[in-house]
């Protein structure tokens, strides 16, 4: 993880870290905080606790996003301090709706300079964000809105498993993982397990990303905590609720970072420190039935 982050993420880059509720690459984010990356343009539909922590740690210059809250709990306080009070530093915002930002990644993934949508009419979002522009349909003459392609320097994504060649499989919610990967110049995938190519090839429809699109695979068990990995561990809803308290004051947030990010050498130590929580969150067994690929 240390080498992958150092190699692929430099100060000033634009970095998309996706995973909608599911598969959020926390281990990678913590490593970027430890490496004291600066001036990053951070891209995520839902900044979530991951970006709240990275903003508090001073990694971010700009945020490209569509919903900045603690899901089901409340505000992201570090985000709000940065926006409302420019603490610890100002944060430039570029704001969409989920559909709009997902579509920007889709345009980037398809190497199209823009994509159209029926969304946004009547909303003030186009006034807040000049990147949303009108486009006229060449068939009907009607006005739609367009979003421009987004092509981040790096995508950092979490998944259940990959093989040595980088063929990556994910199940459960996949959000915009595929679009983020194809839109980005470089792709780092963090997985719970590196598995044999044989296992991957026994179920090719589960493959989300082909190996040639993946620049590095990092094996990091429990790497998405406090978010979750379907089939591996549950979401740590308690921690999401505790974050409200931790993040409300800058001091307690910095204390959290000192202990849980700067105070560990990596995810393994983090996991050991979590102790009983790891066992509590372990997934139950709910296997699917195999299907036949024979012919």
């Amino acid at each position: 993880m240390r080498e992958a982050m150092a190699r692929f993420v430099r100060d000033g880059m634009s970095v998309v870290m996706e995973g909608f509720t599911h598969l959020i690459p926390f281990a990678a984010g913590h490593e970027l905080i430890r490496q004291r990356r600066r001036n990053l343009t951070l891209i995520r539909l839902t900044p979530d606790l991951l970006f709240d922590q990275m903003i508090a740690a001073g990694c971010a210059r700009k945020l490209v996003f569509s919903w900045a809250g603690n899901p089901g709990v409340g505000s992201l306080h570090a985000f709000r301090r940065a926006v409302e009070q420019a603490r610890p530093q100002p944060l430039e915002l570029e704001e969409y709706s989920h559909f709009g930002l997902a579509l920007r990644l889709q345009a980037g993934a398809a190497y199209l300079p823009f994509l159209p949508t029926r969304n946004f009419a009547g909303s003030d979002l186009p006034r807040a964000n000049p990147n949303l522009k009108p486009v006229v349909c060449p068939y009907t003459g009607q006005q739609l809105w367009a979003v421009p392609a987004l092509e981040p320097d790096v995508a950092i994504l979490h998944a259940q498993r990959a093989d040595q060649e980088g063929n990556t499989q994910a199940w459960g919610l996949t959000g915009v993982l595929k679009e983020a990967a194809f839109a980005a110049r470089r792709v780092v995938v963090v997985v719970e397990e590196i598995v044999s190519g044989e296992l991957i090839r026994r179920d090719p429809n589960r493959t989300l990303l082909p190996g040639f699109k993946v620049d590095a695979v990092v094996e990091e068990s429990f790497g998405a905590h406090p978010s979750y990995v379907q089939g591996y561990y549950d979401r740590d809803n308690d921690f999401y609720q505790r974050w409200e308290e931790i993040s409300r004051r800058e001091e307690s947030l910095q204390a959290y970072l000192a202990t849980w990010v700067f105070g560990v050498s990596g995810r393994q130590e983090y996991r050991e420190r979590l102790g009983e929580t790891v066992r509590r969150l372990r997934a139950a067994s709910l296997p699917c039935e195999p299907v036949n690929y024979g012919y």
């Binding site: 909608f20 509720t21 599911h22 539909l45 839902t46 996003f65 569509s66 919903w67 900045a68 809250g69 899901p71 089901g72 709990v73 505000s75 992201l76 985000f79 709000r80 926006v83 409302e84 704001e95 969409y96 709706s97 989920h98 559909f99 709009g100 997902a102 579509l103 889709q106 949508t117 029926r118 969304n119 946004f120 009419a121 009547g122 909303s123 003030d124 979002l125 006034r127 807040a128 009607q142 199940w171 459960g172 919610l173 996949t174 959000g175 915009v176 595929k178 679009e179 979750y228 379907q230 549950d234 979401r235 809803n237 999401y240 709910l286």
Partner: protein
Amino acid sequence: MSGEFTAREIMVTAAARMLRDGEVVLVGIGIPNLAVNLALRTRCPNLMLIYESGAVGARPARLPLSIGDPALVAGAAGVCSMPDVFQYYLQRGWIDVGFLGGAQIDRFGNLNTTVIGDYAKPRIRLPGSGGACEIAVLARKVIVVMPHRRRAFPERVDFITSPGFLGGGRERAELSLAGGGPEAVLTDLGVLGFDPETKEMLLVSLHPGATVDEVRVQTGWELRLASPLGRTEPPSAEELRVLREELALSPAPA
């Protein structure tokens, strides 16, 4: 609040009653999620629940804290990507009902979840649109659920995150928005609808114990009343049982 149920309980119940069996519903977290799950377990066993996270036909075994909860995936009829949810489901017109809430709603049903104050220098920075803007533009109808407080019901919202009827009248229709706009607003005080011509919000029904005066005090413009003004049926014993036992809604005030 009446003695036997909380303001939150009647708000959820009133919202649940807006649904018809068999509808395809895009569900948010919090009160909308409670309302949909209440409807599913009472009058609408064939409701199709879709979460913007991509869980389709979810049958959660526990009440999800987030719209991406793993319990929404296990046992779902399907899972799809978010571009598919927004394009093939929502934009295509397959979502019958979208639920929304917000920090502010105005006289013409426009919703604000972006900022209080000026956009460039906000007094309070709210989470932003998420999927709300597209739900407001594209869902066949929108049901809004939010507590009735004067600061949340201004005459004009500070920022239109999610368009309702804009300036009222034919303004929404003239912009050719694909969806029908807000159909009802369920608060802890009553049920509100929209005038079919002017598209102005109307008080349609008062919840048990609430008064017109109370509603007017909590509304930032001179709220018109439907005639005749209805009275909301209180939550039934069965509705309360489902809410409290199956959905583990704590009886704290909204």
